[in-house]
C-alpha cells in the first residue's frame, strides 16, 4: 500500500466568498501531514474537495501521479480516500454500527448481515478500549452518545473503509487527553502500514506530536510547507497569521484576596451532577477541568437555568433558582455553549440578528434598528470579526469567526457571571489570543468567569483556580501553583492529587 496525493491550485468560491484561492498540498504514504491555518483559511474546504464532497471551481488533484476528479464522496472512497469530517457525518437516529457501515454494509444475498456488522464494529471500537464508556456499543443510537464518543464513531467509520489516505479534520477537538493519546498510537500504526494521513488541528502540541511536516494555509492560499522538526511554533504562527508576533503576551492581574463572592453553589445535584459545591469571585477566572462528559457541561447548563437541578445557588448575595435561561440572563449571567452550530448560532440568519438575539427587548417597540446596527458594528470591530457585512449569514462564517459571534452576543450584555463551555474548541491561535484578551478585560471590569476547557494548557495558562470533575463529582480544587498538568491529569482520573487545596 503506497499512495501519494497532491492538490494543485485548487479554487473554491461560494458566491462572492472565496473559500479557497490557491490550495496546494502533497502527502505521501507513511507520513502525517499537518494542515494548519487560522479559522476560515480553507482547511475544511480543501479536505472536502479532496474527498469529493465539495466540487472545486478550479485546480487539479493527482493521485499516484494520475489526474483524478471526484464527482461524489463515493468516487473518492473507491480509490481509498476518506475523512473524519469536522462537522461529523453521522445519522443521529441510526445505531453506531449502522452508521459505521453505511454504504458498505456486509451482505448475504440482498440482506444486510447484522451479525457481521456487529462483529466488525466491535473490532473497530476495540481500538479505543479503555477510553470509551460502556454505553458505546454497536447497537447504541448515535444520538444518545456524548460528543467525544460520536467523534470516535466517526473515526471508526472512516477506518472501516480501510483507506489509503485519511484526513482527520479536527478529529481531536472533542477528545480528551487519553483518547487523543490512543488516536496517536493508532496513527503511528497506520503510518507504519503505509497510510497517508492529513491532520488538521489548532493545538500546537498535538500537531507536533502527530505530524512530520505541515502545510500552512492563509486566507485560502497555501503559503508553504515546513518540516516540523526544524520550525518553531512562532514561525508557524507567523505563517498562519500575518503580524502574529504583535499579538503580545497576556497580562494576568492577580486576584485580590478580598474579591467579593459572586457565586456560591452548595450541594447542587441534577442530571449527572452529584453534590457540587464551590464559590466564584468577582474578577476571578475559575477553570473547570477533567475528562470529557464528567458533568462539566451539565453544571454550566444548570447554572444557566437550562436544565433542572436541586441545591442552593447564591448569586451576588441573593439566593436564586433559575428555571429558564431568561431568568439567569436577567441576573446578568451569560452562557457560551459548547456546540456553536447547534446551540450557539442561528445559521441562516444574519450576524446582526445573532448578536442581538438575547437583547432585542432593550431596543424598544418598534425596534430602533439604527441603534442596534451601531451597537453591533461596535461589537464586530471590538471582536475583530471578519465578515462581509452585518447582514451576512452566520453560516457563511468560518468556525472561529462564528465563535466570535456566539461570544459577542453575550459581551453586548456586559455579563457579571460568564459561563463558557469549551469556547476555543476549533478556534485558531490568533483568535484565541484575542479571545483571552477579551476575558482579561471582562475580569478587570469585575465579572466572574467560569470556563470549562478541554485544553489543559488553557486551564493552566489562564485560570486562577481549577475545579476538576470526575463522574459528576468535584475531585479537586487546584489553586495558583497547584494548577499543573500532573495534578490535572491525576484529578481527572478521579484520584486526589497530592497537593490538597486548603
Amino acid at each position: 500500500m503506497s499512495v501519494s496525493l497532491s492538490a494543485k491550485q485548487v479554487v473554491k468560491r461560494y458566491g462572492g466568498v472565496v473559500a479557497l484561492a490557491d490550495g496546494n498540498l502533497e502527502v505521501e504514504a507513511g507520513e502525517v501531514l499537518a494542515l494548519l491555518g487560522a479559522n476560515g483559511s480553507g482547511k475544511s474546504t480543501l479536505s472536502k474537495i479532496i474527498t469529493g464532497v465539495v466540487a472545486p471551481n478550479e485546480g487539479q488533484l493527482h493521485l499516484d501521479g494520475k489526474l483524478v476528479s471526484f464527482s461524489s464522496p463515493n468516487d473518492a472512497r473507491k480509490v481509498g480516500i476518506t475523512a473524519v469530517y469536522q462537522e461529523l457525518s453521522l445519522i443521529p437516529d441510526m445505531t453506531v454500527m449502522e452508521n459505521i457501515w453505511l454504504t458498505h454494509e456486509p451482505r448475504t444475498l440482498w440482506r444486510v448481515n447484522k451479525a457481521a456488522m456487529r462483529r466488525g464494529t466491535r473490532d473497530l471500537l476495540a481500538l479505543f478500549d479503555g477510553t470509551i464508556s460502556a454505553g458505546l456499543t454497536p447497537d447504541a443510537l448515535v444520538k444518545d452518545l456524548p460528543p467525544d464518543e460520536r467523534q470516535i464513531v466517526e473515526i471508526c467509520k472512516a477506518l472501516s473503509h480501510q483507506p489509503r489516505l485519511v484526513i482527520l479534520d479536527e478529529a481531536t477537538a472533542s477528545l480528551d487527553s487519553q483518547q487523543v493519546q490512543r488516536l496517536y498510537e493508532l496513527v503511528q500504526d497506520w503510518k507504519a502500514r503505509g497510510m497517508a494521513i492529513v491532520f488538521v488541528s489548532h493545538r500546537m502540541e498535538e500537531i507536533r506530536l502527530f505530524a512530520d511536516r505541515a502545510t500552512v494555509l492563509r486566507n485560502g492560499r497555501s503559503v508553504g510547507t515546513r518540516d516540523l522538526a526544524n520550525t518553531t511554533d512562532s514561525e508557524l504562527v507567523e505563517m498562519m497569521i500575518e503580524g502574529a508576533a504583535q499579538l503580545g503576551e497576556r497580562t494576568r492581574a492577580p486576584l485580590p484576596d478580598d474579591a467579593p463572592v459572586r457565586l456560591k453553589v452548595s450541594a447542587l445535584r441534577g442530571a449527572r451532577l452529584r453534590n457540587i459545591s464551590f464559590e466564584a469571585h468577582d474578577g476571578e477566572l475559575l477553570g473547570i477541568g477533567g475528562l470529557h462528559g464528567q458533568g462539566q457541561s451539565e453544571l454550566l447548563l444548570a447554572l444557566f437555568g437550562a436544565i433542572p437541578f436541586s441545591g442552593s445557588v447564591v448569586l451576588s448575595g441573593k439566593s436564586v433558582h433559575f428555571r429558564h435561561p431568561r431568568q439567569a440572563m436577567a441576573c446578568d449571567v451569560a452562557f457560551v455553549p459548547g456546540d456553536r452550530a447547534t446551540e450557539g448560532l442561528l445559521l441562516s440568519r444574519s450576524i446582526l440578528e445573532n448578536l442581538h438575539l438575547p437583547s432585542w427587548a432593550k431596543f424598544g417597540t418598534p425596534l430602533k434598528m439604527d441603534r442596534a446596527r451601531a451597537d453591533a458594528q461596535r461589537s464586530v470591530e471590538e471582536l475583530q470579526l471578519v465578515a462581509e457585512s452585518l447582514d451576512a449569514l452566520a453560516s457563511s462564517l468560518s468556525g472561529g469567526n462564528a465563535q466570535k459571534v456566539v461570544i459577542g452576543k453575550w459581551l453586548l450584555r456586559s455579563p457579571k457571571l460568564l459561563l463558557l463551555n469549551d469556547p476555543t474548541k476549533g478556534v485558531d491561535v490568533g483568535a484565541k489570543g484575542e479571545f483571552y484578551q477579551l476575558l482579561d478585560k471582562l475580569r478587570q471590569s469585575g465579572a466572574a468567569i467560569i470556563l470549562y476547557s478541554s485544553d489543559d494548557d488553557e486551564l493552566i495558562g489562564l485560570c486562577d483556580r481549577v475545579l476538576v470533575f470526575h463522574d459528576g463529582r468535584l475531585t479537586a480544587e487546584l489553586a495558583g501553583d497547584q494548577v499543573t498538568r500532573a495534578n490535572l491529569v491525576t484529578a481527572s482520573m478521579g484520584a486526589h492529587p497530592a497537593a490538597q487545596p486548603q
Binding site: 461560494y14 464532497v53 465539495v54 466540487a55 461524489s72 444557566f304 437550562a306 429558564h324 435561561p325 431568561r326 440572563m329 452562557f335 455553549p337 447547534t342 446551540e343 450557539g344 448560532l345 442561528l346 445559521l347 441562516s348 440568519r349 440578528e353 442581538h356 438575539l357 438575547p358 432585542w360 427587548a361 431596543f363 417597540t365 418598534p366 425596534l367 434598528m369 452576543k409
Partner: protein
C-alpha cells in the same frame, strides 16, 4: 438559464409581484377584455381574502418545527358563523360578535400551540385534528341551521368601493401588510419568531421562551384566520358550513410562492401578499381563457410546479 438564475437570486416577494404584473398583462393576450381597471381591482380584492387568510399561515410556517396550520379553514368558517349568529345584523352588534369571533380563533390557536409544543403532536396532524373538532363543534352547536344575518356595514366596508373605487378590504389588506412587516421585522417577538424557526436550542439558550413564542404564533394564526373569516363574511354576506375550506391549501401555496420556506426561519408577509396575488391571477386567467376543467387543473399544476422550480428550490447537497 442565466435569466432563471438571475431570477432565482431576486427577492422572492419582488419576484412574485413582478410575476403578478406580467401575468396580468399576459391575460390580455388570452382575452383582450382581461386587462382593465375593474378586473385589476377585482383580482386584488379576491387576492385580499386569500392574503389575509395566509397571514397567520405565514407566521406559523416561519416558526419552523414543521409548522403549518391546517385549521385556518375551520377557524375562518367558525368566525364568520359567530359574527353572523351574534351580531344581530347591525353595526353595533358587530363589535361584540367580532370580538367573540376573534377570541374563539385565538383560543383555537392557543390549543393548537399547546398541542404542538407541550404535547409534541406534529403541527400538520394537530391542526388537521383541530379542523375536525371545529367542524364537529359547529355541527353540534348549529345543528346544520345557520341562523343570523350580516351587519350591512360590513358590505360597505369590505366588498364595496371605499375610496377612489378601491374596496375597503384592499385598504385593510395593505394596512395588515404594514402591521405584519412591523410585527416581523421591528418587534422582539418577530426577531424571536425567526430565531425559533431556525434553531430552537439556540433560541432557548439565548433566553427566548420558545414555548411561549410558538403558542403566541399559533394564537396569532387563529386570531388572523378569525379576522379573515369576519372579512370573508363581509364578502359573501352569508355563511355556510364549508366557507373557509376552499382557502386552506391555497393559503399555504401563497406563503410558499411568496418565498417563505416551509422549513421555517425565513420569509416575509410581503412575499405572501404577492403570492396570493399570483395565485388569484392564475385562477382568473385560466377562467378567462375558457379552458375545460380537466385541462385547467393540469395547467394549474404545471404552473405551480414551474413557479416552485424558479425559486422554491432548496440548496443542493453537493456544493
Amino acid at each position: 438559464m442565466t435569466l432563471l438564475r438571475r431570477l432565482a437570486q431576486m427577492n422572492p416577494a419582488l419576484l412574485a409581484l413582478l410575476l403578478a404584473v406580467v401575468l396580468f398583462f399576459a391575460g390580455g393576450l388570452i382575452n383582450p377584455n382581461f386587462v382593465n381597471v375593474n378586473q385589476a381591482i377585482n383580482i386584488v380584492r379576491l387576492a385580499a381574502f386569500l392574503g389575509i387568510i395566509a397571514a397567520g399561515q405565514t407566521l406559523v410556517i416561519i416558526s419552523g418545527g414543521e409548522g403549518i396550520d391546517l385549521s385556518v379553514g375551520g377557524v375562518v368558517t367558525l368566525a364568520a358563523i359567530l359574527v353572523f349568529r351574534f351580531s344581530g345584523g347591525d353595526t353595533l352588534g358587530l363589535i361584540p360578535a367580532g370580538a367573540l369571533a376573534l377570541a374563539a380563533g385565538t383560543l383555537i390557536g392557543v390549543i393548537n400551540g399547546l398541542g404542538v409544543i407541550a404535547v409534541g403532536i406534529p403541527p400538520l396532524v394537530m391542526t388537521l385534528g383541530m379542523t375536525g373538532v371545529i367542524q364537529g363543534t359547529i355541527l353540534v352547536v348549529t345543528q346544520g341551521q345557520l341562523i343570523g344575518s350580516t351587519p350591512p356595514i360590513m358590505a360597505q366596508l369590505i366588498s364595496q368601493p371605499l375610496i377612489l373605487g378601491i374596496p375597503g378590504v384592499v385598504i385593510l389588506w395593505l394596512a395588515l401588510g404594514g402591521l405584519m412587516w412591523l410585527l416581523l421585522e421591528r418587534t422582539t417577538y418577530g426577531k424571536q419568531l425567526f430565531a425559533v424557526g431556525v434553531n430552537r436550542t439556540t433560541a432557548r439558550l439565548s433566553g427566548v421562551r420558545v414555548p411561549r413564542v410558538v403558542i403566541t404564533t399559533y394564537a396569532l394564526s387563529g386570531f388572523l384566520s378569525a379576522l379573515a373569516g369576519v372579512m370573508l363574511l363581509g364578502f359573501t354576506q352569508t355563511v355556510f358550513l364549508n366557507l373557509g375550506g376552499a382557502y386552506l391549501f391555497p393559503s399555504i401555496a401563497a406563503v410558499v410562492v411568496g418565498g417563505t420556506v416551509l422549513a421555517g426561519g425565513k420569509g416575509s408577509y410581503w412575499g405572501t401578499m404577492s403570492g396570493a396575488l399570483v395565485l388569484t391571477l392564475i385562477d382568473s386567467l385560466l377562467r378567462a381563457a375558457g379552458i375545460e376543467q380537466a385541462y385547467q387543473s393540469i395547467i394549474l399544476g404545471g404552473i405551480l410546479l414551474a413557479l416552485l422550480s424558479i425559486y422554491g428550490r432548496q440548496h443542493r447537497l453537493r456544493q
